[in-house]
Amino acid sequence: MIEIQNVRKSFGELEVLKGIDLTVQRGEVVTVIGGSGSGKSTLLTCINGLEPIDSGRITIDGTEVHAKSTNLNKLRRKVGIVFQQWNAFPHLTVLENVTLAPRKVLGMAKAEAEAIAEKQLRHVGLGDKLTTYPSRLSGGQQQRMAIARALAMSPDYMLFDEVTSALDPQLVGEVLETLKMLAEEGMTMICVTHEMGFARDVSKRVAFFHQGIMAEIGAPDQLFGDPQHPETQKFLANVR
């Protein structure tokens, strides 16, 4: 379970998270929508400790992420994250991209790591690209590789930060299909996204962020069908 309690975070003068509370249960898929600069991406990087927070508390299965005693490198094995772009390690083949962390972080033998990597790459439809370098992959394939790489660590939670935003429109579908597949398999996911159709189909709950606060959260039918907060109404009217 991921518990976020009254989290505040500023970059200099700008407060990007103004007291966020959110609890995500195991097996749940929560999507986060909202305009740019609403703080949704920052929240994800705070959850796995890539960004420090100013106040509040984030705990993952009872471990406080930002406590001094927490071993972040160990905690991050539980929490995979995929970013909008620049995910790939361009000097490594697809297979090496995926085996690096299992080998160096988990200390797995090469053959074992490769077996897991191959399985995950086949899972996301890249079974025929093992020896290819990322520069030879399309944007959508690169994102799927990044997903397989995160999955190879057998994480309990996956965070997706606008993973389709930098893609050409015709490549968005294949990545969303991969995310849907993960959701159906029961992966606990927090997805920051601009894909409203995806949010509606896949999530158990949808959160709307506006200027650093979580203005509204609810089931997709409720949030999209009957938004309560005036900013949610305005946002949804604009994206439709």
């Binding site: 890539l50 490198n73 991050r76 994250i81 361009p90």
Partner: protein, 217 residues
Amino acid sequence: MFDTALTANDLVFLAKGAGITILVTAISVVIGTLLGILFGVIRVQLGPVWAAPLTFFLDIFRSVPLLIQLVLGNAFVGMVLQLQISGFTVACIVLSLYTSAYCAEIVRGGIDAVPEITRRAARSLGLTWGQDMRYIVLPLATRVALPSWIGLALGVMKDSALVYVVQVTELLKSTQILITRLQEPLFLLLICGAFYFVISFPLARFGGYLEKRWSND
């Protein structure tokens, strides 16, 4: 027809000078590069403010002419530190620091060229700072920095001609000795230039080979 007093022994003498040039260059480039990586990583990690003293120290080696560094370095070692070390050692120390100052800038530029998000992706997989540096950042930075580094190494080889001021008889000094004796400056400088070319060419080609290989990634 062409006539010269140059003997086979003189050519051996020049080859020995070339050997010294290669040795001084190799030692300085290896030590200078290792120090340069260290200084470059420290500069990136500390940021401009905390690294200011180091930056200032490196700026001295980048801005003062090498000839002056060699003479003052030699005097400092002999007169202030009162150490009895050879001119060759002094030359290697000064040239190594000189190389490291330039190399630190090259390394810093290479590291800065690695996208922040790629580094975050590495850390988010649980890689430690050191693993991120070793497996992701430095290999990627090397690809960016290689052309500049090859240029630096070739430059250091040519700059090593100045170590004659600390009584090291390298290739150019050997040539000058022969010129004084044989009075055939143009011909001897031509041969000296050919020696420099033969030394440089493999390094330049090796750089080209690596660049081509990495461009397939």
